[in-house]
Amino acid sequence: MNELFSKIKIFYEKHKLISFGIGLALLLAIPALFPKSYIMGIIDRILLYALLAGGLNVINGYSSQFCIGYAAFYCIGAYTEAIMSLRLNFNFWILLPISGIFAATAGLLVCLPTLKLKGKYLSIVTLGFSEIIRLIALNWSGLTGGPMGLKGIPVPNFFGIKIKSSISYYYIFLGLVIIFLFATSRVIKSKIGRAWLSIREDELAARSLGVETSKYKALNFMYGAFWAGVAGAAYAPYTRYIDSTFFTLDEGFNILSMVIIGGMGTLIGPVAGSIVVNLLTELLRPISEYRMVAYAILIIVMMWLRPQGLFGASNSILSGGKIKKKEERRKKKEVVV
């Protein structure tokens, strides 16, 4: 097995473009392999959550601001899309970035006054914000339909083809995830991304080196919120009905646990987290009531064994000081022996 891996690795490093091409072709062919709308539905869910978890990872994993109420931005994106397409007949494709911008603006509103607050306080503010947004969606009946929700959200139109089923919707989610991964990988390698990482590892040191921490933290929050808005906008026409019960705090916790299980601070982590969590919840179906018990135990075990998650950044502060120290000690001992 190891041989195979190393061979694949060597091949990948030699022919990057070709292997990307092969990967893409495989991904595009998935709907042909699974003609069942059920399995495609699960794959769609995985991709949707990969996008959401990826966006949250930008906030929690790259700059160590701890956002818990991520569902708020997702909610704003979904409602923006639904309302604008129902009332103003805007095109889905234009609404994707517009919803993202709305969510990013909300992100700015949340984080501006809280920039001087430390992690825990930012967490409680995002948590409160999430509940407030949900209650506004529930109570502002004139705009959001209130408890009746919004139904009949128009499906997107791609050059005359109506994208309706979970199979054709797969391509929208896939496209968004690829764009997200590409864009984020570029941002992380840019000056902005470096600034985020330096804030994550040591905010004081970053500031003394001349990084404008407030500005970059705000930017970081807006970027993360933007993708939640995009995900919401893609999700609303997918279900074609939304109401405020879709965006509870639990939804935020769910996204958060995907980020944690997959691993914070890497691009692949949240994607893996989304795959593992969504597949597990499906696979554990036979044990019915004990499903969530098993899921909870998984989260705890994960934190005990691999606090940085499956594919987390193991070389950073995220992986936990104590455990790293232990390993260092072990290494030292080995050297002595």
Binding site: M1, N2, F5, F34, K36, S37, Y38, I39, M40, G41, I42, R45, L48, L135, L138, N139, S141, G146, P147, M148, G149, K151, K164, S165, S166, T239, R240, Y241, D243, T245, F246, A272, I275, V276, L279, L280, T281, E282, L283, R285, S288, E289, R291, M292, R306, L310, F311
Partner: protein, 389 residues
């Protein structure tokens, strides 16, 4: 470590794919091992999460109905079976499961889900798959009209709420001023709006109204607000929180006639309110008659299996199975297909445990109502179905 994990991941993916496929391999296998013909339904219910109480009730009640029907020889030579799936009260999971049932050619109809949000998110899916989604409890007034395949037997609020205003408040109690307290959900708002319409027709004076969101615990300040308006009658529109509201009215030492629309003659009210419930008046589409042996037996069996007293929700879920059985019976010698079930369900009429059921064109029903009151810790019928005639 990383490699091991990625191998694990890959194995898991393959495993899911295989399970998914093996589900498909059994397609169109309509006969069970004993050579009996089987019709299978899918049940979507929140077995975990906040609404687990109701999901559990669905699961037990539908299984009871199926066991009864099978013990009596099945329908048209078919035995019934049900596949239960936990939707966790999450729309996304519910939609995935609806797709799963839609793909599975063995499943002929879906019963569920509990919350209207999930049902409405599923509507386009069941419409595309051409499979009936019969919800016992979906209460959003728009739900049943979303597709020819969506049905609800919750009972339309444009019948019950005006009945409540005209016949309970105005005619039966003869009250002139009311205060309303309702849950801020699709059902609560629809009931409230319809009640207000009915109240306007008979000239009732609504002196105060208040709403609250799901999971509210403390009603004291809202009730104080309503008390300040000094109404003759207080109307509560909810199911789950009615006992708390009744108790907190008593705690306020507020002597007001309490009436409630929604929970029916739920044992829960008697258990959770004790003597505070004395004198409570409610409208209900059905009544558990303590004299009737069949109904008491039903209640007892349910309690044995579930560990708690039934509310109205399991009862309607129980009726759903009989309704589908009736539709299959009406197909007669024809093939039991999804469309045949849909067409006959539309025409089906049964005398359910929760009263008579007959669908409107859209796929929902208007019920008839009884007026009940709590006397000496028991519900008693005050007026029959014909009171409004």
């Amino acid at each position: 470590m990383k490699k091991v994990l990625s191998v694990l991941l890959a194995v898991m993916m393959v495993a899911t794919i295989l399970t998914g496929c093996s589900g498909g391999a059994k397609e169109s296998n309509e006969t069970s091992a004993k050579g009996e013909k089987v019709v299978k339904f899918g049940l979507l219910a929140p077995l975990t999460g906040t609404n687990a109480e109701y999901g559990k009730g669905f699961q037990i009640a539908t299984q009871m109905a199926i066991d009864e029907i099978n013990a009596a020889g099945g329908v048209n030579g078919y035995k019934l079976a049900i596949e239960v799936a936990d939707s966790k009260g999450d729309q996304k999971e519910s939609s995935d499961l609806a797709r799963k049932f839609g793909d599975d050619k063995e499943i002929k109809a879906i019963i569920g889900d509990f919350a209207s949000g999930a049902c409405m998110a599923n509507a386009p899916i069941v419409d595309a798959a051409g499979i009936v989604q019969l919800s016992p409890t979906a209460s959003n007034p728009d739900y049943a009209g979303m597709s020819p395949y969506t049905f609800s037997i919750m009972g339309r609020q444009d019948a019950e709420a005006p009945f409540f205003a005209k016949y309970i408040i105005d005619k039966y109690l003869g009250a002139k001023s009311v205060a309303l307290i309702y849950i801020n959900s699709d059902w609560g708002v629809a009931s409230h709006d319809n009640f207000v319409k009915g109240a306007e027709e008979v000239g009732l004076n609504i002196v105060a109204e208040a709403n609250y969101v799901q999971d509210e615990k403390d009603f004291s300040s809202v009730l104080l607000k309503l008390k300040a308006a000094d109404p003759e009658v207080l109307v509560i529109f909810d199911q789950g929180a009615v006992p708390q509201i009744v108790n907190q009215v008593a705690q306020l030492d507020w002597d007001v006639q309490i009436t409630t629309l929604g929970p029916g003659t739920s044992q829960q009210i008697l258990d959770l309110c004790g003597k505070n419930a004395e004198g409570l008046i409610t409208s209900t589409p059905f009544f558990f008659d303590p004299e009737s042996e069949a109904q008491t037996a039903w209640k007892k069996t349910f309690k044995e299996k579930a560990g708690f007293e039934p509310t109205v929700h399991p009862v309607v879920a129980y009726d759903c199975v009989y309704l589908l059985a009736k539709a299959i019976e009406m197909i007669g010698d024809g093939e039991v297909s999804r469309d045949a079930i849909r067409d006959n369900l539309q025409k089906a009429e049964i005398e359910g445990l929760a009263g008579p059921i007959k669908f409107s064109e859209a796929g929902d029903i208007s019920r008839q109502y009884l007026i009940c009151a709590v006397e000496n810790g028991q519900f008693v019928i005050k007026e029959g179905y014909d009171y409004s005639k």
